[in-house]
Amino acid sequence: MTDRTECMELADLLAEVATGAASGPDRARLLRHLNDCDECRQELEELSRLADEVLLIAPEREPPAAFESAVLDRIIASAPRSHTRRLFTRPALQLAAAAILAMAGAGIVWQATTDDRELAAGYRETLDVADGQYFAAAPVTDDTGAEIGHVFLYDGDPSWVFAVLGPEPAPGDYDVVVQTGDGASTIATCEVETAGCGGGATIDARISAIQDVRLVGPDGTWFTAELASGRSAE
């Protein structure tokens, strides 16, 4: 049921989310509310369409002469790759389904509920948006093992990493550092205030190549999100 009080509280965030100006936590807060509020969802859609139209004001400029042929070459080159990824996604999902069946135990027939099937279909559609193969998430813990945030990862085209910290860490800028076998790379900054922070970016590496994601504070203090090994389906 729609909570009108919450609608009023979050009304100011609609324009910020529509234009992309909202912080990660604010955006997450509004998106949670939209799950139960058709009215706010419709308002956000309208504001987002309006914000997208603002992009039209950029002046048109003719690109260099060989632009069209360069684009077509890339489109042709990308076609088989995209096909390969789609084929790959299906076995990966079948493996996941098989794992669920195994967990249910021998002799027990797993019957997916309508909700489960809708969830699975929604997951597939979401992954297909950017040729994705999987989403992953891992808790960020402090040196006592307490959870102070989360890292979300998407393996697709492009792949991305997004880190969210709660209000627990000391205020300041925290670098989001991605560690792979090739070394460490700072991809974003997450500015902790009283309400925590969020920050991330697309990355060139496959998610399966990431060993851990660290949030390094201004004084060198760092927190780690340890990623489960063997996530790669390759």
């Binding site: 914000a51 603002v54 002046p59 048109e60 970016a201």
Partner: protein
């Protein structure tokens, strides 16, 4: 890839390349980088054409949102790019007659010019450059609350202006 698909892709690129490249150039500033952004935007658009929903807007705005996203990705990685978002935003919302825009964007440009400039600039900084309200407040040296108000009020006024202009044209 079938020959018909290639022809369709060529027509698509030809139709929108000036618009896509223009936006890429406005955001990343340098011609070689803008070309890379524009190429990538077309590749992504073509690959995900099935996701385009005409009920949610025009193909041109859908393509431009992809372009903007690619450009912002580049800005985040390439911090060496000579980009001055505030200056570009002021140019985009300014009353410049020599800017080459298509008719379909005239109404939005006119509406942006009719609202207070600081609000229009705040909206453009968020929409074109992906700046958060906090980043806008830091760059413009204004309180965070002021940046948020400019974005919120600017978008609301923009909406009102466009509704009025649509009512008049009906």
């Amino acid at each position: 890839m079938a020959a018909g698909d290639i022809d369709a892709a060529a027509t698509f690129v030809r139709r929108f390349q000036a618009r896509v490249y223009g936006l890429a150039l406005a955001v990343v500033g340098a011609a070689p980088d803008a070309e890379e952004v524009a190429q990538e935007a077309f590749v992504r658009a073509w690959r995900h054409a099935g996701n385009f929903d005409p009920r949610r807007g025009r193909v041109s705005t859908w393509l431009l949102t992809i372009t903007r996203n690619v450009a912002i990705d580049m800005l985040r990685v390439r911090r060496d790019l000579p980009v001055e978002p505030a200056a570009v935003a002021e140019m985009l919302v300014g009353s410049v007659d020599d800017i080459d825009r298509q008719a379909e964007s005239d109404h939005i440009a006119a509406a942006l010019r009719s609202i207070p400039k600081d609000q229009a600039v705040a909206v453009v900084l968020a929409v074109h450059f992906g700046l958060t309200a906090r980043e806008i407040s830091e760059r413009q040296e204004i309180p965070l609350g002021t940046a948020k108000t400019r974005i919120r009020t600017g978008l609301a006024r923009l909406r009102s202006k466009l509704e009025v202009s649509r009512d008049r044209s009906d």
